[in-house]
Symmetry: D2
Subunit: 112 residues, 4 copies
């Protein structure tokens, strides 16, 4: 079994032991991702560049894991193949951000 | 190579072709996750329960892929093993949410 | 003095007593707004429509107050007149959402 | 009429002309605040400290105005007096962040 399938299996098992599927509609799963993302961001709030790379690694792992967990559950709910959608998005981004125009700039594609 | 490593390889390649590592400090990567999460949430804004499961699947894939992409890049920057941190977080959550007390309720662990 | 100026005065006083202006660059103030907004959203997470209007009013006040506080500080930092920018945005939205086309629909202006 | 009441009056008028009250439950208003906050944050994404204070002032005004608009509508929906809740929150924060311990530090109250 792939690493992704193993994670999804464990997440689904955890969810089903608690009978939580009833709460996991797509809108709330998306909201949960965004709340966990904010908790991740809180680790960096008010921090200068030099302090940013020295944050608590345990909290970083916990918050990132939560983001992955809810993202995996949402993807699973919609039957999405995560590797496939990520590789396809990279492909789309190659079109939106051609190397010659996007090199060394953080501008958005519509401002290039 | 695992699916996760393949995604990371492609993301790093895409990033390095554009020389974007200079922009990818942890604070901005975390911010990017949270901005993509908000774009995902926008698909569900003002939508009632019955409309939620019928949103545009292409946009859902695109936004979820963006969240995975920046989360993978941030994890990779800190040398984290994604499967490991997700499984460890599930383990922690088993302690915080014992089956008997958390079954059928969406309450947070500190309100159980 | 207007209500808005009174709030800003108290916020600036609170900030300056702690010498916190050094942390209040625009990027972190914007990030703080977004983190407080996520804390507000957490009150509603996993809640069905009928539970939504019965959330803890004290926490609602606290989270909303935090959002106003950081938004007022960011506006003040850039010398913005809040009433003016809100009324101007309503004016812009009148153009983007003409009554006849936007009535009874939650569609975004580019999908009307 | 106070500046705040004037803004709320105009927002309610705009909303009611379009019959949008049906969409403005508390959960979606909170979600809207958070989506607008992410759009504000996008102005600062990948920007270094020295670039941050030179962002497009029109977009800053637009995004901040949207945050104020939805926050005012949510406060109004719950009959909250905005000046009151902001001043009360400052009062609470004076307890959580005593001057002598919080001066010159961005630490959270539970880490002081």
């Amino acid at each position: 079994m792939s690493d992704i399938d193993q994670m999804i299996n464990e997440l689904v098992k955890f969810r089903d032991e608690r009978n939580w599927k009833q709460f996991h509609n797509s809108k709330d799963l998306a909201l949960a991702i965004s709340i966990e993302a904010a908790e991740l961001n809180e680790l960096f709030l008010w921090k200068k560049e030099e302090e940013v790379e020295t944050i608590d690694p345990v909290r970083l792992c916990d918050e990132l894991a939560d983001i992955f967990a809810f993202s995996l559950l949402l993807a699973n709910k919609h039957g999405l193949n995560i590797k496939k959608i990520v590789l396809e998005k990279i492909h789309k981004n190659r079109m939106k951000y051609p190397v010659e125009r996007s090199r060394d700039t953080a501008k958005k594609y519509n401002e290039l």
